[in-house]
Amino acid sequence: MRARALTRYAALFGASVLALTGCFAGPAKAPAADVTAKPEFSGTLSILTKFAGDPLSPYFEDLAAAYERKHPGVKVELIQETDQSIKDKTKTLTASDALPDLYFTWTGNWAENFVRGGRASDLTEVIGPDTEWGRTFSKASLSAFAHDGRYYGIPLYNNGKFMGYNKAAFAEAGVGVPTTFEELVDSCPHLRKAGYEPVAFGNKDGWPALHYLQQLFAYHVPREIREADHHPGTATLDDAGYLTALKQFKTLVSACTDTRGGTNGVLYTSAQEAFSRGKAAMYYQEILEFDNATAAGAGAGPRALKPQNLVVRPLPVPEGAKGDPEAIEGAPEGYLVNARSPRAALAVDFMKFVTERRNAKTLSSPPYGQPSTVVGAVTPETSSRAVFQGIETVNKAPRLAGWLDMVTAPEVADAWLAGGEALISGGMSPEEVLESVRRASKSAK
């Protein structure tokens, strides 16, 4: 009797599992959105942005209010997230098939996933380089979101990673702003003697280490090899440049940070603050942070970083680097239109409004300081000197190296994250880090 009951319950459980598995066999496909249609100015337009918190959140809030005034039948619903939280939010919304009409994206593997999964509208007809709207953007920023010759993303701002130097600190230490990686490392004891932490660095979240690594990889590993290594299907990761880069990164952490092996315990923002307050002489940062770096130090005493003392340059190239010394790490960031949105045309219209020249100039100006991808929006008049200089350098760079955690498969990116942390803490040697990434890449094939 008991055995029969057990069998009955087991059968019931098994049937439930199979039935539920069947029930969740993926979202129902909605008809592809028509982005070329005439927008219907009614209903709620939902948007997922990466502009949560100060000073960025008012940007979309103001634009949403202005758009609602322009089209009284439209309500704009903003979901604003931070750099860290948007990753989880986007994936949760994707998994539950609840993506908003318009959503933020990075370039590389991140955007490709949405394109491949049929969740990003093909915008070629409205934003391709030969269209009226497309011509308002820089070509490089448009092509960063292109896949198989089709254009999917609306680039909003450009970004790049630069070493920021506090000119006053270098003058006090009696050394010049370094022009090679070796000079940078050599300057560290002098800066320390002058009372500065040479390089402010916080790697609590793991990705700041990847920013150094990707730039060093770009310098040391030939571009074709590096790009092939981003894809598990073609990756070998056996170029000697990887090891050189990993060793140089370890040297930088050991010789130029005060926290050395404990850098994983420091917040990225704490490092930024150390630089802003004039406690550190160097800080590796994104263009998006330039204005914040100088603003945050205001009123923080005589040593605080002043805008005129901020010098931004690409990470100095190591001597004898055999890769791509002109490459700059960076990529534009932008928005995708949900391919299943019934308001796709309205989403496109909203983004046309966002990227109008005057709105693009506002975005590029303090306090936002996000260098717009719209041609002519970033000028010495609209942007701070550092932002203008940074974006000019990015625009002139022959090639951009995308963020390491975005250009490769998630398992490989995760292995790089763990490896970067282990390299800092001393838990792994450069050889062991590379081997762990090779293993991850192999299993991701």
């Binding site: 790697n203 926290t259 994983n264």
Partner: protein
């Protein structure tokens, strides 16, 4: 069966049906659903799913981070028993032995305060306590001449997990102390008076009167802390996100990382099932062990 009995049974069933439906929909259905997901590889972007049977479970056994996460949960459980069960019981007995009721009340409140702080806030607070340059801990060590022991507590693989566990003990200790204090207060004072008249000292009183009479609460606390140790998530996410180099991953955060960072939701569901099985087994075992331990007087 008489109609009246049938009616009473049907009425009884009608009363419990809403609760059963709620439990089924919000507790048991997700459990079964999760098991279903764990037998799939699932591309969240395209929505495509492929049945892989128990492949995700096989992968678990070959995954070194899964095992180190499991070990971290075990550490959590062991240290929670030491501090939140044994330590809290000892402290509760000390507090309750204080003759002044006012002081006893004050101390209970003092110990309980950390438990009133949310884990997320406490995690953030301790993040700054452990900060290598500005943190309170290193400054205190420096001030008492032990500066050489100062380090990046959360930045080193060797110390990060224990630093997180320490914060968790600080946060949960007071709550356990309060529960034990209540259990001790329920012990009739005549038993202590009789023991005193027999010349029993405070240590023997603790072992021969207090300890046996709070065993029900001790069992409950063991169950709560050990199950809690396998459900740890918030404090790790706030303080280290599982780093450096996955050294502070626990099963909960490894599940999260696989799902939300590595896009492997099937594998994450398999970890979820393992966590469920472990906590269920622990709960059943402890309920069974403590089933005949009810103390009555």
């Amino acid at each position: 069966m008489p109609v009246r009995t049938m009616y009473r049974r049907a009425l009884g069933l009608a009363w419990v049906i809403p609760a059963l439906v709620l439990l089924g929909v919000f507790v048991y259905l997700p459990l079964v659903q999760n098991f279903g997901f764990s037998t799939l590889t699932w591309d969240i972007y395209s929505g495509s799913q492929e049945y892989v049977g128990l492949e995700n479970y096989r992968e678990l056994f070959d995954d070194p981070v899964f095992w180190s996460s499991f070990a971290n949960n075990l550490w959590y459980a062991v240290l929670s028993i030491v501090f939140q069960v044994c330590g809290a019981l000892l402290l509760a007995a000390l507090v309750e032995s204080i003759r002044s009721p006012r002081w006893a009340r004050v101390l209970r409140a003092v110990y309980f305060i950390p438990s009133a702080i949310s884990l997320t806030v406490a995690g953030l607070l301790f993040y700054f306590v452990y900060e290598p340059r500005l943190g309170l801990l290193n400054h205190v060590l420096e001030a008492v001449g032990l500066g050489r022991f100062g380090q990046a507590w959360l930045g080193q693989e060797s110390t990060a997990m224990f630093a997180v566990i320490a914060m968790s003990q600080w946060q949960g200790f007071g709550y356990c102390t309060l529960l034990f204090a209540i259990a001790i207060q329920r012990i009739p004072s005549e038993l202590y008076e009789a023991a005193s008249l027999d010349g029993v000292g405070p240590v023997r009183r603790f072992f021969h009167v207090t300890l046996p009479l709070v065993r029900e609460m001790t069992g409950l606390m063991m169950m709560v802390t050990v199950s809690g140790a396998f459900q740890v998530f918030n404090e790790v996410m706030v303080m280290t996100s599982g780093g450096p180099n996955n050294s502070t991953q626990v099963l909960g955060t490894w599940l999260y990382r696989n799902g939300f960072v590595r896009n492997d939701f099937g594998y994450a569901a398999a970890i979820g099932t393992v966590i469920f099985v472990i906590t269920l087994a622990l709960a059943v075992a402890q309920l069974w062990i403590t089933r005949k331990r009810r103390v009555e007087w």
